[in-house]
Point group: C2
Chain length 201, copies 2
DNA sequence: CGTGGGTTTGACCGATTGGTCAAATAATGC
DNA sequence: GCATTATTTGACCAATCGGTCAAACCCACG
């Protein structure tokens, strides 16, 4: 029953989620309409609802998939690696995600700005636990003198904001840079910022 | 004709803009409804439309007021002052705005994320000109060895993202910090980050 | 007072919203 | 080939959307 996903089912579900990502990331949940998503997916509204039982179902499916990819880089930090290398590697991975998946970043940003009504529990649960754990590691690094003493939580916020900014505020960044590719200079500037903050003198 | 704004007119216009800020900053333009705003303003929908001729009029009035306050701190940078002091002062002013006017920040964030359909011209015009001008000043500071050599544009983006993050992602920040006040540690961490990036060795 | 302006709102409008349903169509297994 | 199932959609629904309008209200000022 649950395993009978046809080729065509998989394809249409993927198409719908792609279309939903496009629309939701631009207008947020309440600002998006099923007609918009159906049109972007190239199918009729009833056909869309044949695969997802509601607008909310499309949205939560997108959020669920997103959260997996979102937490992954944080988990990938090597607690036994070189501190500066690990933290810069994490930041660069996040920056790559902003470059390659800007719509996912904006979908997430929209959800948070609107008060995270659907993922507040994840933030206070899984995400907080993960950050708490990393914070202990970072505090250990600082205590050992391997990085400068920093507040680990605000360090994490710093990395998040610096990287996601290029996806979420893409329009503004490009308006100011003119024709220059934002990600060209972003990476080296990000590295420089974090090195200045972390590297022991 | 244009000067006959009664006491009650001023009061109701202010009430409506307050309510509009509350609603728009949470749901964006398309996700907000006139009924919501009218209810938040404690008046009927036709009464609201007696003071603003459309939903769009409320929104653009809010954006116009916002943009003034938004550009002001950037203009206030003293081109002849101490570089590090001026840049840290600017960052701290922006952080104060995130603390004291988080809804304004989220209103702006919503508009940008959604592609800035109503203020794209301001971004590419007035804002870009202002940033270009500051960039020249910063490059001058760097050339004189008064700050480390940095890309002035990405430096500005850094300040924007670091400060606005605390308003725009407030829910996430508080979810992770638990009961701790975010702005407690934010300011010193921000200062440390920028000093590490700017201060010549 | 009372009257003329500014103010407020209930009722309503056409358009759009999320979602349903029965019927038509396409694919699949035998 | 044919029947069965999966897929697709036009037509439709109640609710909500932004906005209108005429009538009621209120409040100064003579």
């Amino acid at each position: 029953m649950a395993k009978t996903d046809t080729r065509i089912q998989k394809k249409n579900q993927a198409t719908i989620m792609q279309a939903g990502l496009e629309v939701f990331s631009q207008f947020g949940f309440r600002g998006s309409t099923l007609d918009q998503i159906a049109k972007a997916a190239g199918m009729s509204k009833p056909n869309l609802l044949y695969y997802f039982k509601s607008k909310e179902a499309v949205y939560t499916a997108l959020l669920a998939r997103l959260l997996e990819n979102w937490l992954e880089p944080l988990k990938a930090i090597d607690r036994d690696g070189d501190p500066v290398e690990q933290l810069l590697g994490y930041a660069n991975r996040k920056l790559d995600m902003s470059r390659n998946f800007p719509r996912e970043s904006r979908l997430f940003a929209n959800e948070i700005i609107q008060g995270a009504p659907r993922i507040g529990d994840v933030l206070k649960g899984e995400l907080k636990d993960l950050v708490d754990e990393i914070a202990v590691v970072i505090n250990g690094w600082a205590a050992a003198g391997r990085i400068k003493p920093v507040d680990p939580y605000h360090l994490i916020f710093t990395i998040w904001s610096l990287t996601q900014h290029y996806a979420d505020f893409d329009v503004q960044v490009r308006a100011i840079l003119g024709g220059v590719d934002p990600f060209e200079g972003a990476q080296s500037h990000l590295d420089m910022t974090l090195r200045g903050l972390l590297q022991p003198t």
